[in-house]
């Protein structure tokens, strides 16, 4: 990580406004660490090293603390992801109701495993703990949308909406 690369990264005004707003919610502004990272991720898809350092410089939250939370919370992405992220619920209710078949079909269809992105950059596939959609198991979430129950033969229809 060179100083030039860090300096070359500029937070947008919108990102700065979001970070400011979140920091104003706490008596210790450093409490907004996760939300500050998410302000960047929301717009750029992930949090690069450059972005993390830019957030640190802007917010005054030490880079080490930001890295500490970034590597702890699974919804903070420290690597690039595809245009859409698919979270497949792998918890008990979905497992009882056909998770194995769903994942098998999904991996075959996209030709990737968990943690990978399709060659065309369209989808990244990630496992998720219980999505709170247990009465619609097996469930998955694509970007902000919950889907369920999703049977293997309905995958084409579900994925169609995400280009």
């Amino acid at each position: 990580m060179t100083a030039e690369r860090i300096q070359a990264f500029v937070l947008s005004d919108e990102e700065k406004a979001d970070i400011d707003a979140e920091m104003s919610h706490y008596e210790d502004p450093g409490a907004a660490s996760v939300e500050a990272l998410m302000a960047v991720q929301q717009r750029r898809g992930w949090v690069s090293d450059e972005a993390l350092h830019a957030v640190a410089a802007y917010s005054g939250i030490p880079a080490a603390q930001l890295e500490g939370v970034a590597t702890f919370y699974n919804l903070v992405f420290r690597q690039p992801v595809g245009r859409h992220v698919i979270f497949v619920c792998d918890s008990v209710s979905c497992w009882l109701c056909g998770y194995d078949d769903l994942v098998q079909s999904l991996c075959a269809k996209l030709d990737i495993d968990f943690g990978q992105t399709t060659a065309d950059g369209r989808f990244t596939l990630l496992p998720s703990v219980c999505l709170g959609n247990c009465d619609h198991a097996p469930a998955l979430m694509i970007d902000d949308d919950h889907h369920g129950p999703v049977q293997a033969d309905e995958l084409d229809r579900v994925l169609e909406g995400y280009s």
């Binding site: 008596e27 996760v34 939300e35 603390q65 702890f72 699974n74 198991a137």
Partner: protein, 424 residues
């Protein structure tokens, strides 16, 4: 008066009420009554009502609040709603948050007033995007109407409410880990004592309660203690949002008197097992609650009765296990979750749960070894209550303990099958 106070205002499609609609349906009446009361009288009311925490532990809410210092020079205090619903098999708080956001906001203001906290946070799991959006809309309406901010409804009480959207990790639902997380740190639990009511968020007196628990508060203020206790079929006051998932005909959430028998929830509300499936066992309140079997079908689902039967009511959302499901496979799924979600702070949990998962994975793959059951039993003992830093590891081994007792033959078969095949 309603017998389903928490869900009666929720429409079938969950489209939430506007502020105007919510008020017309009696909303914010509880707040008006509360603001005319002495704060400590509200806490006393909750004690008399015997409201117990709906997040899983069942701790009496009034008692919890009574430990908050109430002298005038205490300084900043916080009321925090635990909306980090992430217990596998649990989807009840989501209904309340998406379906009736104003009820949540009213509950936060009343609860904040009761402990004289001027700031509240709703700690919401990151995946509940719709809930976040609806809470933000409702909070803006409430602020506009003078229900949030300075001098709430001319009462002289100031209350600011913020939504904190989290970014994953089950351990955030643990009360003290939630405080660490809300402070922008890794969600590592804290030692108790001191308890959060004395030393909580940013070192200040804080109360953390579950969504469903808090949503009961304005109703108790409005309708009274007798009404609340009469809703129940047990010593615990009120209703409970039960739920069911798995191979049942009508999976969902049902608000019923607390103490409703397991059989009634399963057969009448969840609609019984789907064709071709038989009931085998149930996790009564999420992944961390010990199993119950068909011997327990007539058990009343309240905190004490389920406790006496060797399990916990937990979140009250039943995970129903059918006869086609392998118990070894099920436990492997559960322990994978707990091993992955351990925060890593203490060794028994971090190392022990991974070991448990590996053994179960091997058994599931047909490569169980003689002695595996004994190693699992050793972990049940060594990761039990008091052996780890927080309740994560004890929660993880509860279902394993019961599985080894009720379905031991399945574990034995997993080992014998390997021995027969000539494995070492």
């Amino acid at each position: 008066m309603s017998t389903t106070p928490l869900t009666e205002r929720i429409r079938a499609d969950r489209t939430p009420m506007t502020l105007e609609e919510y008020r017309a349906a009696g909303g914010y009446d509880g707040l008006h009554q509360a603001l005319a009361m002495a704060p400590t009288d509200i806490t006393a009311l909750l004690k008399d009502a015997n409201l117990r925490g709906r997040g899983g532990a069942g701790f009496p809410t009034g008692l919890k609040w009574s430990f908050v210092p109430m002298d005038d020079n205490t300084g900043l205090k916080y009321i925090i709603c635990n909306a980090d619903e992430m217990e596998p098999g649990t989807f009840k708080d989501r209904l309340l948050l998406e379906g009736d956001p104003h009820q949540m906001i009213e509950a936060m203001i009343v609860s904040g007033y009761a402990i004289q906290a001027n700031v509240g946070y709703i700690f919401l799991r990151g995946e509940y995007k719709l809930a976040a959006q609806r809470l933000r809309t409702a909070m803006a309406e409430a602020r506009e109407a003078g229900l949030l901010g300075r001098n709430v409804q001319g009462s002289g009480f100031d209350f600011e409410l913020y939504l904190h959207t989290s970014a994953g990790r089950y351990i955030c639902g643990e009360e003290t880990a939630l405080l660490s997380s809300l402070q922008g740190e890794r969600a590592v639990p804290r030692a108790k004592p001191p308890f959060p009511q004395q030393v909580g968020l940013f070192g200040r007196p804080s109360v953390v309660n579950n969504v469903e628990t808090l949503c009961n508060v304005p109703h108790i203020v409005r309708e009274g203690v007798d009404w609340f206790r009469n809703l129940s079929h047990s010593e615990d006051g009120g209703t409970k949002l039960y739920g069911a998932s798995g191979r049942v005909n009508n999976p969902g959430v049902y608000e019923l008197p607390i103490g409703t028998p397991l059989r009634e929830v399963l057969e009448e509300h969840a609609g019984g097992m789907k064709d071709g499936y038989q009931f085998k066992a149930v996790l009564p309140g999420g992944a961390s609650t010990p199993m119950l079997t068909r011997d327990h079908l007539d058990l009343a689902l309240d905190f004490d009765s389920v406790g006496k039967a060797g399990s916990r009511l937990g979140t009250g959302t039943l995970v129903v296990i059918d006869d086609r499901t392998s118990i070894v496979g099920l436990l492997r799924n559960l322990e994978h979750f707990f091993a992955q979600e351990s925060c890593g702070w203490c060794t028994p949990c971090r190392d022990g749960l991974s070991w448990v998962e590996k053994i179960l994975a091997q058994m599931q793959a047909g490569a169980g070894q003689p002695g595996d059951i004994e190693v699992l039993e050793q972990h049940v003992r060594d990761l039990g209550p008091g052996k780890a830093f927080c309740a994560h590891a004890p929660g993880a081994v509860g279902p394993l303990d019961t599985a080894l007792r009720y379905f031991r033959d399945e574990f034995e078969q997993a080992i014998a099958a390997h021995a027969t095949a000539g494995g070492q």
